[in-house]
Amino acid sequence: MLKNLLLFFILSNFSNSYAASNRIFVSNEYGNSVTVIDAKSNTVIKNISVGTRPRGIGLSPDKTELYVAISVDNQIAVIDTQSLQIVRKFKSGDDPEAFAVHPNGNLYISNEEDAKASVYDPKTGALLAEIEVGIEPEGVAISPDGKIVIVTSESSNMLHLISVPSHTILRNILVGARPRSACFSLDGTVAYATSEISGEVKKIDVASGNILGKNALMDSSAKPKDILLSRDGTQLYVAGGRANKVFFLDANTLELQKSIPVGKRVWGLALSADGRTLYSTDGVDNQISVIDTVSQTRTLTIPVGKFPWGIVIDD
């Protein structure tokens, strides 16, 4: 009882000192900007010019800083989530595309033209490690315990499982053509990955590397990109690319449960902390779609900059 009380105080203290900004951040690949949206009113607050070809986007563990990969400038821009000012930029290796933020605060970045993944400390901009991977690395996912990082290499059709902190490759797993994104199950024992050209989602046993199942997305036009797990771990949300749909799959069987029409060329996905609201970036329509995950319907679209790519929410 006392222990619980203590935990309660610690947790409430944390939430007091790091009050969520309730903002949605969208990188606009050809708008060279980040659009900031108020998550409560769904209105655009600001467009921040960030540099040429912003793609990957992510928040620091304490949510005070937003990181944006500026692919052409070979930099990561750091934005204060309260003031919405760019506070610094640091060099990130060639052509940074996507990245994930480790619970310890470090950034795991895929360097598309270099066939490398690199690890940076965003506070100092120091390069901590470089890991050779396959050609055109893109998606980065980090296991819930922080011990394994997955990097997908699009042109080598592989997932690379990288051990943290040794940064050695544990396993290389062949998947369908052009793997773009991956995520972990809540307990970290299973990974899911999308393959854009073969149009499928694969379910992988992390310990053995065995493929546990696959789902060819039924819709022959589906070119899946982002993949996210629901907060309760039972559903997968998949951005269908040129199918212009978001797919809801059963995380266990990979069965298709629902296809939700959104805008054109849907790539990026973000999920609210309570799991109720899913956001997608509809690249060709220069908008994001807002989806209610309970009623499984799109409730709203919000215009953003040109070719929205990545999306993240601080709530």
Partner: protein
């Protein structure tokens, strides 16, 4: 006695383990002009396949202009990439019937209609290019456009990454022949990486392929051996469109280009 058996068992175990760990070198033959852009495309494909192979325990090597005897007897020679014309390809296909042969330069429609079991045409055919021009011209004023299977100004679908890898390595733009050479090696190596039994390479490639040629669609082979793929439309050496047009139905329209039938 027991001791001796144990030693043999140990030795056997060692041999099996050693074989499993050793990188199996796979040979791919190339026949044709070794100074051609097709051969340079093969070289880029080889480099990329060996990056993938490094992670999976495969390595690949090109054997230039192997003799017919070498093709028959070298057990680790799994496929041949050819930059030869139709008459030579016909002879070659018959002589080496058990091995997949990748045609990277000959556009003859007749050769496709003959449906040689082991000929795989990576380069687009004459009829595919003609059909693409006529589909493009529908409802448009004829404006001196060209059709081609690959172009250095294609940027979408990560084509810009492939074009820049080729440009950086050879200091020249990637042509369709170079692309076909690259694609052949990638198809061979990716299929071998996925197959437990590389002896079934030809049937696996013909029946189960989902190839990423960095042109935005999943590529597979027609029964006549032609690789299904979109055709690019250019004007003044710049890309202005794709046939079929990029969209939800691209995949289903790929067979509207060129012939699909066999006239044996």
């Amino acid at each position: 006695m027991n001791k001796a058996l144990n030693s043999i068992a140990l030795l056997l175990g060692f041999c099996i383990t050693y074989t499993a760990l050793a990188q199996e070198e796979i040979l791919i033959g190339y026949i044709g002009d070794t100074k051609s852009e097709a051969r340079r495309g093969v070289e880029l494909g080889l480099q990329e396949s060996n990056i993938q192979g490094k992670f999976l325990g495969h390595s690949f090597r090109i054997l230039d202009n192997p003799t017919p005897l070498q093709i028959r007897v070298l057990g680790n020679l799994k496929a041949v990439v050819s930059k030869k014309d139709a008459s030579e390809l016909r002879i070659f296909a018959t002589q080496s019937a058990e091995i997949p042969i990748f045609n990277v330069s000959e556009r003859s429609e007749a050769l496709r209609e003959e449906c040689h079991e082991n000929l795989l045409h990576i380069i687009t055919s004459e009829a595919m290019l003609d059909d693409a021009i006529s589909q493009w011209s529908r409802g448009r004023i004829n404006n001196s456009v060209k059709a081609i299977g690959w172009h250095h100004s294609l940027r979408k679908y990560a084509a810009s990454q492939l074009n820049s890898r080729y440009q950086q390595k050879f200091n020249e733009p990637m042509s369709e022949l170079a692309w076909a050479g690259w694609a052949s090696i990638k198809i061979i190596s990716d299929t071998i990486a996925r197959s437990a039994n590389s002896d079934r390479l030809l049937s696996t490639i013909k029946n189960d392929l989902k190839f990423d040629g960095q042109k935005g669609v999943s590529m597979s082979f027609r029964e006549n051996g032609q690789l299904r793929q979109p055709v690019l439309i250019t004007q003044n050496d710049e890309m202005i469109g794709e046939i079929p047009p990029s969209g939800p139905n691209t995949k289903n329209q790929l067979d509207s280009l060129g012939t699909t039938d066999c006239y044996k």
